[in-house]
């Protein structure tokens, strides 16, 4: 099969034909997962206390939707992410670009950068609360911190991988720095940068939620802890599935951009 695919000259075809199928396949996966989940609870393979049946979760979802709980908390978390994600990503892009241009910077900055990435939030929670308060801004920070690193390292590698020949071409055309970035470096590094963004986008949810764990009045992190502390397992599931849905949407968004932008790579495979 794989062999056939690469020997046939009609390379663009499978993509064109497969589009509908491909778009639907994640839904199929979700359906299968729900079925498996249903069976697990139906046959009581695991206690219902630990894994509630899908129907119960659906009911809980309906309720959380109806009384606005879910919307409120998801709204908070989304709001935090929508600031933290672009913030962290842009800093990652900027510093990553700088490091790619001046490799010494990587050595100088690595202790700081790695420290940011490897310190659990509990350790600096008091600082965070004192400096940013208990409002959304501290969660924007935790999101930005967690999101920053994957974008950074992938930007470095992406920009370093730009063809030196094409750099020569741009220089010979007297292109400005900005033009070199916009017309050469960015498109050339894009596949790798987008991979970094995929990691960043899915980590963003965790970043906001973990920030909320530190101390918050609303948000999915608060909802999940509150549901857990009230032993409302179906609501825990509703909350977690909401997080996954958000992460999956962001992931899909990046995947869509990737798909659109990399026509040339698909066509030339």
């Amino acid at each position: 099969m794989a062999k056939n695919e690469s020997t046939q000259p009609e390379i663009a075809r499978p993509y064109a034909n497969g589009v509908v199928w491909r778009r639907l396949s994640p839904l199929a996966t979700v359906l299968v997962l729900i079925l498996v989940w249903h069976w697990i609870t139906d046959w009581q393979l695991v206690s219902r206390i630990l894994i509630p049946p899908p129907a119960q979760v659906l009911q809980s979802l309906a309720k959380a939707l109806a009384d606005g709980t879910l919307a409120k908390h998801a709204g908070t978390t989304l709001g935090e992410m929508m600031l933290g994600l672009p913030l962290g990503v842009s800093i990652g892009l900027a510093i990553g670009y700088a490091i790619a241009k001046a490799p010494l910077l990587e050595y100088i900055l690595s202790p700081i950068i790695v420290a940011f990435q490897s310190t659990p939030i509990v350790a600096y929670a008091p600082l965070l609360i004192i400096i940013f308060g208990t409002g959304p801004s501290s969660k924007v920070v935790t999101t930005a911190v967690i999101v920053f690193f994957p974008t950074l390292v992938n930007t470095i590698v992406g920009i370093r991988g730009v063809s030196p020949r094409l750099r020569d071409l741009m220089r010979s055309l007297n292109a400005s720095r900005w033009q070199i970035f916009r017309k050469l470096e960015l498109p050339s590094a894009l596949p790798v940068i987008l991979a970094g963004l995929k990691t960043s986008a899915t980590l963003a949810v965790i970043g906001a939620v973990v920030g909320e764990f530190v101390g918050s009045g609303s948000g999915l992190g608060v909802l999940v802890i509150s549901a857990r502390s009230q032993y409302d397992t179906p609501l825990v599931y509703v909350t977690v599935l909401t997080m996954t849905a958000i992460a999956l949407s962001l992931y899909s968004l990046v995947a869509l951009v990737e798909w659109r932008v990399l026509v040339w790579q698909r066509r030339s495979t």
Partner: protein, 253 residues
């Protein structure tokens, strides 16, 4: 081993969902041990044809056979030299040339030995530890040629192997090719834009039309062998050259 092309045609998918006919339909045989030169206008499907014979591309219609075997995947007896040097940028010249031996499982010391013996003929001695990005265009091409030579194939598919080389090096390497072939007879399909080169080397020259390439001339070169560079001043050589040139010029628009 005989190569047979039967109603072979290739189309590529083109932007807009249409198909771009790139080659054929084309039908001809390449005899065992024949040295065939392919000439034709840029973009007429020469590389496409070579890729089909190498088993890297499935034709859209018709088929190609090597002996009795349908070519539907790369066959072990056939080696291809691509139009671009196609070296691995992370390997040194030595390791790039040695790649076929490495894949065949030859021990490191032995394959390095073999490559080092080959390097002087390629004028690449002293560059075994250079990376492809540190080579000139012609040097990269010579490394790629070295890689094919090491495969010792029965059938050689050479896509403009001397395109980036100066006249002297070109002459040296094409004569080297003839010499190799004289020791053990092989089938060679060579794409070139140089008519004198084609006449000097080939048993037969096939001229392709503009895209989609079809055979417009099939000229037997019955110059005696062994051939040598000075032959290009012989009248018979000039006649053949003129014949090929004329069939190409008939394509002028």
């Amino acid at each position: 081993m005989r190569l047979r092309l039967q109603q072979l045609a290739v189309s590529y998918p083109a932007p807009g969902g249409t198909l771009l006919p790139a080659l054929g339909p084309i039908t001809f045989d390449i005899a065992d041990d024949e040295f065939l030169c392919l000439v034709g206008p840029s973009g007429c499907g020469k590389s496409t044809l070579i890729r089909v014979l190498a088993g890297l591309l499935q034709p859209t219609a018709g088929s190609a056979y090597c002996g009795d075997a349908l070519i539907d995947r790369p066959l072990p007896d056939i080696a291809i030299m691509f139009q671009d040097a196609n070296l691995m940028p992370w390997r040194t010249v030595l390791d790039n040339i040695a790649l076929p031996l490495e894949i065949a499982g030859v021990a490191e010391s032995e394959r390095h030995q073999t490559v080092r013996e080959l390097l002087p003929q390629l004028n690449l001695d002293g560059f075994e530890l250079a990376y492809p990005a540190e080579l000139s265009g012609g040097m990269a091409q010579r490394a790629a040629l070295g890689r094919v030579i090491l495969q010792q194939p029965r059938i050689w598919l050479l896509d403009e192997p001397f395109g980036a080389l100066d006249a002297l090096t070109r002459e040296k390497l094409s004569l080297e090719l003839l010499r190799l072939r004289q020791r053990s007879r092989q089938t060679i399909v060579l794409v070139t834009h140089d008519i004198s080169e084609a006449v000097l080397l080939a048993d037969r020259i096939i001229v392709l039309s503009r895209r989609p390439g079809a055979v417009i001339a099939d000229i037997a070169i019955d110059l005696p062998r062994p051939r040598f560079a000075a032959m290009i001043y012989q009248p018979e050589f000039l006649r053949l050259t003129k014949q090929v040139r004329e069939s190409i010029e008939s394509l002028r628009d």
